[in-house]
Amino acid sequence: MEKPILTGEMFTQGDIAAAEGALAAGCRFFAGYPITPATEIAERMAYRLPRIGGRYIQMEDEIASCTAVVGASYSGLKAMTATSGPGVSLMNETIGLAAMTEAPMVLVNVMRGGPSTGQPTEASQSDIMQAKWGSHGDYEIIALIPSSVQEMFDLTIRAFNLSEQYRVPTFVLADEIIGHMRERLIIPPEDELEIINRKKPTVPPEEYLPFKPETDLVPPMATFGEGYHFYATGLTHDQKGYPVMTDEAQLALVPRLCDKIRKNADKITQAESTETEDAEILLVAYGGEARTAMRAVKDARAEGMKIGLFRPISVWPFPKDQLKDAAANAQQVIVAELNYGQLVGEVERIIRNEVPVHFIPRVCGTPHTPDELMKEIRRRIK
C-alpha cells in the first residue's frame, strides 16, 4: 500500500497540496464533480485514495457530491469535496443540511471569476460572502484562505481539524492563483502533524442523545453502524434528534449552531500581521492578493513609508480582535481584494468610522500588480 502521508519535499500545485493535506489529516472519502480550476484535487484523490484504502467517487453533480460527503461523514469517515463557485452554488443546499445535522466535512472552493460560468480559468476572490451566507437560515461555517502552496496543505489539515472539533462544514477558500501555481511543498513526518478527531459518545446507546451539547456547545458524534440507532434530520430537532416544531426547540438549536463557532472564535480565528506596529497605513489583503500586498509593503517601506499588512487567514469567523490590534496606530486602512467589494464590508464594520477605509477592487483574473497597490498607497499617504 502507498503511504497516506508523503513526507518530504515536492514542487507542486496548490490543488495537489490541498489533496495531500486532506490525506494527511485522515480524509478517506472524496466525492466530486469535474470543474475548473479545482479538478486537479479530484484527479489527485482519484489516484491516491484507492491506493491507501480510501474511497473516491465521481458523482452525477455537485449536489450529489456534497450530499454523499455528508453521508460518508455520518458513516464515520473524514470526507471532503472540492469545487469552484458554480459548484458551491449547487452544494449550498447540503451545506445547510450539514450545518443543521452538524456533519464534519471539508469543502475546497478554488475560486474563479463569476457570476454564473464567468471566467473558469481566471482567479477571483468573489465567493467570500457565498461561503458565509450561501445556504438559507441562520448558521455559521468556518472558512480559511491560503496564500501559498504550503498553506494549501497546512490549512486543509486545519480545516479538517476544525470541522471535526466543531462538527461544522469548513471551507478552504483558495483562489485560482494559489490553486494552480506551483511552489515548494514540505510535508512533515506524521508524528509532527496535529490531527483532531470528532468526539465520540461515552455513554451506552440507550442513554445517548445525539444532539446534546457538552460545555463547548458541541455534541459527541456517534456514526452509523455503531449500534446507537440514532436519528438525524434537517428539520428543527430536539436533543434526541426528533423533529420538533416549537419556538423552544428552534431557540435551543439555532443559537447553539451559531454560538459553537462565535463563542469559540478565539480558538478558531487566524491572521498574520506584518510590519503593523508602527503602520500609518494598514493594507488588508488575503489569498493570492496578499502576495502583491506583501511586495507593496516591502517596496513602500524601502521608500520610507510606514505601511503594514494585515492578512486574515480565517475569514469566517473573521479575526476582528487581531484586525483591531493591527490597525491600532493606522490612520488609514486600504483593503485590496480580487472582487468588487466583499470582505471590505467586514473590515468597515470592525474599524467603524475610527479611520477611513479605502477599497481597491479588482474584478479581472489576476491579482493587482505591486505598482497598482503602490499607486494607491502613494495617493493616500499625501
Binding site: 484507492p50 491507501i52 474511497r55 455520518y74 470526507a79 443546499e93 453502524g225 438525524a232 434526541k240
Partner: protein, 283 residues
C-alpha cells in the same frame, strides 16, 4: 410472572421492536398507503431477523420522507430529493451498511431523479422503496412526475397535461437489479418482495401504488381510502417478469403489478473495494 398472567397480557404488536415508540402516534392520514409500506418493511425485517446494526434508513422530504424517523435504526432525513445521494455516500464509506431509502414519487423522481438513475446505473447496493401516490401530499396535493394525464391536482386544476413517468420502466432502464411494483393492497406480496430485495446486493427498487384519500383521490373523486383499495383489487393484474416498459399503470383500466427484474450485476462498493485492493498490491 406466572404462565396465566403472561397469557392474559395483551401482546405487543409484532413489529414494535423496529419502531421508535416514543415517536408514536405517526403523522400519516388514515387510509394512506405509507402505513402499509412501513408495516410490510418492518415485517420483512422481522422475518429476516435483520441485523439492525448494519442498516441505515434514509428518506427525503414529503409525507413518505417522514418514514425514516419512525424506525429504531440508524436513520437520516435528508433534504428534498437527496436521500439516494446520501445513501451512496453511506454505502461507499462503509460497505457493511445496507442503506434503505423510503421516499415518495416526487422526491425520488422529480427533484431527486438524477440521483436515482445514476445510483441505479452504478448499481450501488441499496433498497429504494417508493410510495407512489401520484402527487405531492405534504405540500397540499400538487401534480408531480407520476400524475396521470388529465388528473386533477391543485396545480393542475383543469387536468394534468404532462406525460408521467412509468417508474418501474425508469428503474429497469437505469440498471436496477431488482424491480417490482405492488399496490398498498398487496401487503403480503410486498413484504415478500422487500425480503427478496434486502437479500440482494445491488440497486433494488420497489414501487408501491398508494392511496392519498386526503388529496389526490379526493380531488379525482376516487372515493374513500377503502374504495380506492377495492378498486386496486379490481384492476390489478400480476405479471411477473413481464416487460416493465409495458407495465401499465392506469386507474381507469388496470395496474400491472409483479416483480419485473431480478438479475445479477457486480455491485459498486464491491467493485471499488476490488479496484482498491488491486492498486494497493501494486498491480
Amino acid at each position: 410472572m406466572t404462565e396465566t398472567s403472561r397469557i392474559s397480557t395483551i401482546e405487543e404488536h409484532p413489529i414494535l421492536e423496529y419502531i421508535r415508540r416514543d415517536r408514536l402516534p405517526h403523522i400519516f392520514c388514515s387510509a394512506c398507503g405509507i402505513g402499509t409500506v412501513l408495516q410490510s418493511f418492518a415485517t420483512a425485517l422481522r422475518s429476516l431477523n435483520y441485523d439492525m446494526d448494519n442498516m441505515v434508513i434514509i428518506s427525503g422530504i414529503g409525507c413518505t420522507g417522514r418514514a425514516s424517523g419512525y424506525f429504531a435504526a440508524d436513520s437520516y432525513h435528508t433534504t428534498h430529493g437527496r436521500a439516494i445521494a446520501f445513501a451512496t455516500g453511506v454505502k461507499v464509506a462503509n460497505p457493511k451498511l445496507k442503506p434503505v431509502v423510503i421516499s415518495g414519487d416526487g422526491d425520488l423522481f422529480a427533484i431527486g431523479g438524477n440521483h436515482f438513475i445514476h445510483a441505479a446505473r452504478r448499481n450501488v447496493d441499496m433498497l429504494v422503496l417508493c410510495v407512489n401516490n401520484f402527487n405531492y401530499g405534504m405540500t397540499g396535493g400538487q401534480m408531480g412526475p407520476t400524475t396521470p394525464v388529465s388528473a386533477i391536482t391543485v396545480t393542475s386544476p383543469d387536468g394534468n397535461i404532462e406525460h408521467p413517468f412509468n417508474l418501474v420502466s425508469v428503474a429497469a432502464a437505469s440498471g436496477a437489479v431488482f424491480v417490482a411494483r405492488w399496490t398498498a393492497l398487496h401487503a403480503r406480496r410486498l413484504t415478500k418482495s422487500i425480503e427478496k430485495a434486502l437479500q440482494k446486493k445491488g440497486f433494488t427498487f420497489i414501487e408501491v401504488v398508494s392511496p392519498c384519500p386526503t388529496l389526490y383521490d379526493r380531488y379525482n373523486r376516487h372515493g374513500t381510502g377503502l374504495e380506492v383499495m377495492k378498486k386496486y383489487r379490481e384492476i390489478s393484474v400480476i405479471r411477473n417478469f413481464s416487460d416493465p416498459m409495458q407495465a401499465e399503470i392506469d386507474y381507469r383500466t388496470r395496474i400491472v403489478c409483479g416483480e419485473f427484474v431480478d438479475s445479477e450485476k457486480p455491485e459498486f462498493s464491491d467493485l471499488l473495494e476490488e479496484h482498491g485492493k488491486k492498486l494497493q498490491k501494486g498491480d
